[in-house]
């Protein structure tokens, strides 16, 4: 079974430029998460989807960040415009239905804004 797939693995952009990250969750997983991980810190939730619906986006900086999950499968996270402080690892995870199920994480996208 394929795991959570994220692309790209690494991205370097200049500040004020747009950037997009893509995530393909494990087949059949209805819950999808985007997390932000700064160096030396634990992941922080940006947004959580149940199928196509964003059920928790309270921590998503909506002035510059946006996300979508069309058809309840793949998801894209976008930043426009990027700032120097956005340099971090962006993690995607998915989990199946049911109570107490663990989340499976992708390798992450390491973003560097210069």
């Amino acid at each position: 079974e394929a795991g959570v797939v994220q692309s790209p693995r690494y991205k370097i952009i200049e500040k004020k430029q747009p950037v997009a990250f893509w995530c393909n969750p494990i087949s059949g997983h209805n819950t999808l998460y985007w997390y932000l991980q700064n160096l030396g810190q634990g992941p922080e939730l940006l947004i959580r989807y149940e199928n196509e619906e964003a059920v928790d986006d309270s921590q998503l900086p909506k002035d510059r960040f946006s996300a979508e999950r069309l058809k309840g499968v793949d998801s894209t996270l976008k930043i426009q415009p990027a700032e120097l402080g956005d340099s971090a690892v962006y993690l995607c995870a998915s989990s199946s239905d049911g109570v107490n199920t663990e989340a499976f994480f992708g390798q992450g996208t390491r973003l560097t804004v210069v």
Binding site: G42, L91, V99, N100
Partner: protein, 114 residues
Amino acid sequence: AQSVTQLDSHVSVSEGTPVLLRCNYSSSYSPSLFWYVQHPNKGLQLLLKYTSAATLVKGINGFEAEFKKSETSFHLTKPSAHMSDAAEYFCVVSMGTGRRALTFGSGTRLQVQP
């Protein structure tokens, strides 16, 4: 609201000696609890999970954790450290609908000395 506190940011042990990584949680409801491990440049991997069954949970690679409700703790232990255990460890609490709202601790970096 839910939160999790990892009491040590760094732990250093000698190979072959016991490992103790401490975690306390705060949750209004009966939570699910997880430990994840993150090796350098690798994705997050589930070590073990507690979901209100047995309070002593066994995980992969010889790790185990004990849920203590009276102490609101979920400490991770291993009888004998191996060099390959050197990594970042995250305690995670989950609650909410289907217990799919995951909150991460700040992490504990485990160093294993030869």
